[in-house]
């Protein structure tokens, strides 16, 4: 059982990392979500894998015995919720970013850091990528 779970985590993490290294932004975000899934599985495994015994300390004893520790399961729930929220945010971000940039290639995304044109001096910011000056008068 442990070996199977370890293998699953390995496959999930490597597939996720492979996708996350992609230049395609959507693949990158999905890859990160997969890495998150792998991380959650790993956290889950830290509470021991046993058969379906209830996580109840028997009367008169101090320790849990052979049952799995329920705390990591609670931690995983927290992590899943957070990961889901971040995945939603990143998908919405891509929905805005890809049409605005006209590309889904992260290498071509050079608005924040314009490509170098001069061997010595850094490039000037692209038009429209600076705060407007003078600032608009307050409403």
């Amino acid at each position: 059982m442990s070996a199977l779970l370890a293998f699953t985590i390995w496959v999930t993490l490597s597939a996720g990392l492979y996708l996350a290294l992609s230049r395609d932004m959507l693949r990158c975000v999905l890859g990160l979500a997969m890495v998150g899934g792998g991380a959650n599985l790993l956290l889950f495994a830290s509470g021991r894998l046993t058969s379906a015994q209830p996580a109840v300390v028997v009367a008169g004893e101090q320790a849990l015995g052979a049952a799995a520790n329920p705390l990591p399961q609670a931690l995983v729930l927290t992590a899943i919720v957070i990961g889901f929220a971040l995945l939603c945010f990143s998908l919405v971000l891509l929905l805005r970013l890809i049409p605005a940039a006209g590309t889904d290639d992260s290498q071509a995304l050079r608005s924040a850091e314009p490509p170098v044109t001069d061997p010595f001096k850094p490039p000037l910011p692209q038009p429209g990528c600076e705060p407007p000056w003078p600032p608009e008068a307050p409403r």
């Binding site: 509470g47 971040l86 990143s90 995304l109 924040a112 850094p122 429209g128 705060p131 003078p134």
Partner: protein, 485 residues
């Protein structure tokens, strides 16, 4: 007053909720936000007072005794950082009232800002490793919101890069937390400190290396700092100052907690590795800054470089190293935020952040020139400003431990920092404006900006001219950390 320990989260979180509810009424929202930061400041002062009296505020939630319930414990280190967080929040909110690059008004800007403060406050107050991960996530989602609400193309671009690299960092942190729990069975700092002594050195190195790698991404340490200079300069100035002051320092604080307190003394190889990482962080950060001509990008690279000094202090370890790290962090947060604020005032008067397009402020606004020199020279480490004492503490300890190479790198980086600051001074203040018809605009609303920047400069001067109170506080804080003999 146990509930006081939870106020670094409760007060900003309550402010977040209230300002969100008031998001259709800007005046009410601003009033609530001011009240919220005022309350946060008072609670932070009370926490510092409690911690200084050796009765740190302490609470374990849900009536579970300490190792089982999630515990908040604000010791001297945490209390000082919570106070500085509240001060920075106040300065940023004050600066938002000026018209110096505050960004377009957005109904969710204030709620997200207070949410960010809640995340930072929680990270400084908690005494639970998984809880620390949660606060990192709270900070992450709030910063992402603040990056994206401007909705300019470069801001969306920066959001994406910030998201990918920081998400990888938090996922790595999650894996490391899971592994630490699997190996020790504890998440509470106090219980972890005891359980960590039972670990074999090999296992301990692997676990701590994973934790430190995750915190290193958050702190912007070499070679994992690429997200910082790629994104920070797209932010509006008050938010940029807040991020520059606080976010990376939470990562540094987590490193200090790990290596200097909970897991101290950790295997020596980790301190050695951290020292070299710190030296590389200093050097590569300052070299990146030397290339750039945009004030925000120069200063963003200097965040990286200064992080190196704090990491070096932590790597030196012991009570002296930890005290130096805390002193340096407090000094650095104030100075770095102030530099970004002054840069925004320069932008308002001259029309650009790029040094090739501006100039002439020495003649037009001599007072602003003096205001710039206080944080700039403090960043370099010129006596008698606060940066001098910070660097003195770090380098003294480095020499005492015979770390000549690290000391030489740190001194070289100071000189290169001086080069960057002089570049800004020469180009923005000394040389005439490239456009001969330029006159400083008369219709500016800079009074709140002056108030915020002068307040921070006053703090820098106060620490510089009278470093003993902060030094004594930092030494007392280090004496209660785990590394103290």
């Amino acid at each position: 007053m146990t509930v006081l320990a939870a106020t670094p989260v409760l007060v900003p979180l309550a402010t977040t909720v209230l300002t969100t509810l008031a998001c259709r009424r800007p005046r009410l929202q601003a009033a609530l936000s001011t009240a919220g930061i005022g309350g946060f400041l008072l609670c932070a002062l009370a926490l510092v007072a409690l911690a200084s009296a050796d009765t740190p505020a302490d609470i374990a939630f849900g009536n579970w005794a300490a190792p089982f319930g999630i515990q908040f414990r604000v010791d001297r280190t945490g209390a000082a950082l919570v106070l500085i967080t509240a001060l920075m929040g106040g300065a940023a909110l004050l600066f938002l009232a000026s018209d110096a690059d505050g960004g377009a008004p957005h109904p969710l800007r204030l709620p997200l800002l207070h949410g960010l403060l809640a995340g930072v406050g929680g990270a400084f107050a908690t005494a639970d490793l998984f809880n620390l991960y949660v606060w990192f996530e709270v900070m992450l989602i709030c910063t992402l919101g603040l990056f994206a609400i401007g909705a300019r193309l470069d801001q969306l671009d920066a959001t994406f890069k910030y998201l990918v690299l920081n998400l990888l960092g938090t996922l790595l942190l999650l894996v490391a937390v899971g592994a630490v729990y699997g190996a020790t069975g504890h998440l509470n700092y106090g219980a972890l400190a005891q359980a960590a002594q039972q670990l074999t050195p090999g296992l301990s190195v692997v676990l701590l290396a994973a934790l430190l790698l995750a915190f290193g991404i958050k702190a912007g340490a070499f070679p994992l700092y690429a997200w910082l200079p790629a994104s920070y300069h797209t932010l509006p100035a008050p938010l940029l100052a807040l991020f520059a002051g606080l976010l990376t320092k939470v990562g540094v604080y987590a490193v200090l907690r790990t290596l200097g307190d909970v897991f101290a003394p950790a295997p020596a190889v980790l301190y050695e590795a951290l020292g070299w990482v710190a030296a590389a962080t200093m050097l590569f950060g300052v070299l990146g800054a030397a290339y750039h001509w945009d004030m925000r990008r120069i200063l963003a690279f200097h965040i990286v470089s200064q992080i190196g000094y704090i990491l070096l202090a932590i790597a030196l370890g012991g009570a002296a190293g930890n005290a130096a790290a805390l002193f340096y962090t407090v000094h650095h947060i104030i100075v770095k935020a102030n530099l970004f604020l002054v840069a925004a005032m320069v932008w308002r008067l001259t029309g650009s952040y790029d040094l090739r397009r501006i100039g002439g402020l020495y003649a037009a606004r001599p007072a602003l020139m003096l205001l710039f020199l206080v944080p700039a020279l403090s960043l370099v480490g010129v006596p008698p400003l606060s940066g001098f004492w910070s660097k003195l503490l770090v380098l003294q300890e480095a020499l005492a431990q015979g770390r000549v190479v690290w000391t030489l790198v740190a001194l070289l980086v100071s000189v290169l920092t001086l080069y960057s600051m002089m570049k800004i001074w020469m180009e923005a203040f000394w040389k005439p404006h490239p456009d001969a018809r330029w006159r400083p605009p008369a219709d500016t609303r800079l009074a709140p900006a002056w108030a915020a920047a002068l307040g921070l400069a006053g703090l820098t001067l106060a620490i510089g001219l009278n470093p003993q109170p902060l030094l004594a506080y930092a030494q007392a804080a280090a004496a209660t950390l785990g590394a103290a003999p």
